[in-house]
Structures are given as structure tokens and as C-alpha cells.
């Protein structure tokens, strides 16, 4: 007997495989960053759903931490892709904007 958490886990795993394909085969770097960001969101959902599936919803703390780390990581990669550096880039930003 499969419950709703098992169904959601299967759907998330299938979708994570698709996202992994895009992150490997993406022609530009932005495709890869988009796929990695989407993969992180699906990982958050998978942690939350798996906590309910195994009857231990305490995994939600890990999901919270992972959501914040995913956002910080995406912004950091975007800044690195745009400026080539992670340090302060005020003059370059004014030049672009």
C-alpha cells in the first residue's frame, strides 16, 4: 500500500533525474545554474517528504537549513558568473547598470 508520501517521493526522484540531465547537458552555464537551483529545491522537498514517509518529521530542520544554503549558493554562483569574483564589485556594477 503506497501512501501519498511515497507517490511524492517517486515523482521527486524522477524529476531530480531529469534536472540532473539538464545540469549535465545544459549548453550554457546559466542552464546549469538553473538546473542546480531547481535540484536544490527538489532536495528540500524530498527531505521534507521523506521525513513524513519514514514517520520522523524531524528532518524538516535539515530541509530549512538546506533551503537557505541553496539560495545563498545560487546567489553566490550568479555573482561569480557575472563579475568573475565574489568580493566587492561596486564600480563594475555601476558600469554595467
Amino acid at each position: 500500500m503506497i501512501d501519498q508520501f511515497g507517490a511524492a517521493t517517486v515523482a521527486l526522484l524522477v524529476c531530480m533525474v531529469m534536472t540532473l540531465f539538464r545540469s549535465i547537458a545544459g549548453p550554457t552555464v546559466f542552464d546549469r545554474v538553473l538546473a542546480v537551483n531547481s535540484f536544490g529545491t527538489k532536495t528540500v522537498l524530498l527531505i521534507a517528504v521523506y521525513g513524513f514517509l519514514s514517520g520522523r518529521p524531524d528532518f524538516l530542520d535539515l530541509a530549512l537549513v538546506y533551503a537557505l544554503m541553496n539560495f545563498i549558493g545560487t546567489i553566490a554562483v550568479m555573482k561569480f558568473t557575472r563579475f568573475g569574483d565574489l568580493a566587492g564589485m561596486e564600480e563594475d556594477e555601476e558600469e554595467i547598470l
Binding site: Q4, A8, M18, R22, L34, F52, L68, F71, I75
Partner: protein
């Protein structure tokens, strides 16, 4: 008993709907032809799929501390996912990535 049954049915409905949206987003992430169109697919997964799955989990958890954590998770995802997508699209556009334009979609031809 009746309330538990209603919560179970609502949990099934929301989680299965969220799974369908997540699958649609994954298929779109593979099939769509362009980076700017693939953002749409990732956006479906990040907003609609995540929200529906988390709301379904809330119906399954009931009024406990778990629901509070789920609300916090929902808030973080709702705040950060559109921001990340926006930063991604802006970075790609400023970097000079051209959107794919189909026949009849060229903006300049409409004004000539």
C-alpha cells in the same frame, strides 16, 4: 474521525497535485528549447509544486510544531525561489544571452 478523513483526502489531493506540477516542471526543463523558456519550467517546480506539496504535508501534520516548521519552509521557498530566478534571468540577459525568437515574434519587424 470525519475530520481526520477530510484531512487525509486533502493531503492526498494537494500532494498528488504538487507531484504533477513537479513532474511537469521536470519535463519542461528537458524539453523546452531555450534558457529563458526553461526558467518557466523551473519556476513551476519552485513555486506551485513546492507550495502544494508543503500544504499537503501541513494537512497531514495537523496543528503541531511540524506545521510551524513547514510554514517557515514555505516562507523561505516563497521568498528565495523567485529571487533566485530573477537574479539568474538578469545575469543571463546582462551577459548577453539572446532569447530565442520564433517566426512572427521579432519585435523590430512589427514596427517597420
Amino acid at each position: 474521525m470525519n475530520g481526520a478523513l477530510v484531512a487525509e483526502v486533502l493531503s492526498w489531493t494537494f500532494i498528488v497535485a504538487g507531484s504533477v506540477f513537479v513532474l511537469i516542471g521536470g519535463i519542461g526543463l528537458i524539453r523546452l528549447p531555450d534558457f529563458y523558456t526553461r526558467i518557466h519550467a523551473a519556476g513551476i517546480t519552485d513555486t506551485m509544486g513546492a507550495w502544494l506539496i508543503l500544504i499537503g504535508l501541513m494537512f497531514s501534520a495537523g496543528w503541531t510544531l511540524i506545521t510551524v516548521k513547514l510554514v517557515m519552509l514555505l516562507f523561505f521557498l516563497a521568498a528565495t525561489s523567485p529571487l533566485a530566478s530573477h537574479a539568474l534571468a538578469k545575469a543571463a540577459f546582462l551577459r548577453g544571452l539572446e532569447p530565442m525568437l520564433g517566426r512572427g515574434l521579432e519585435i523590430e519587424d512589427d514596427h517597420d
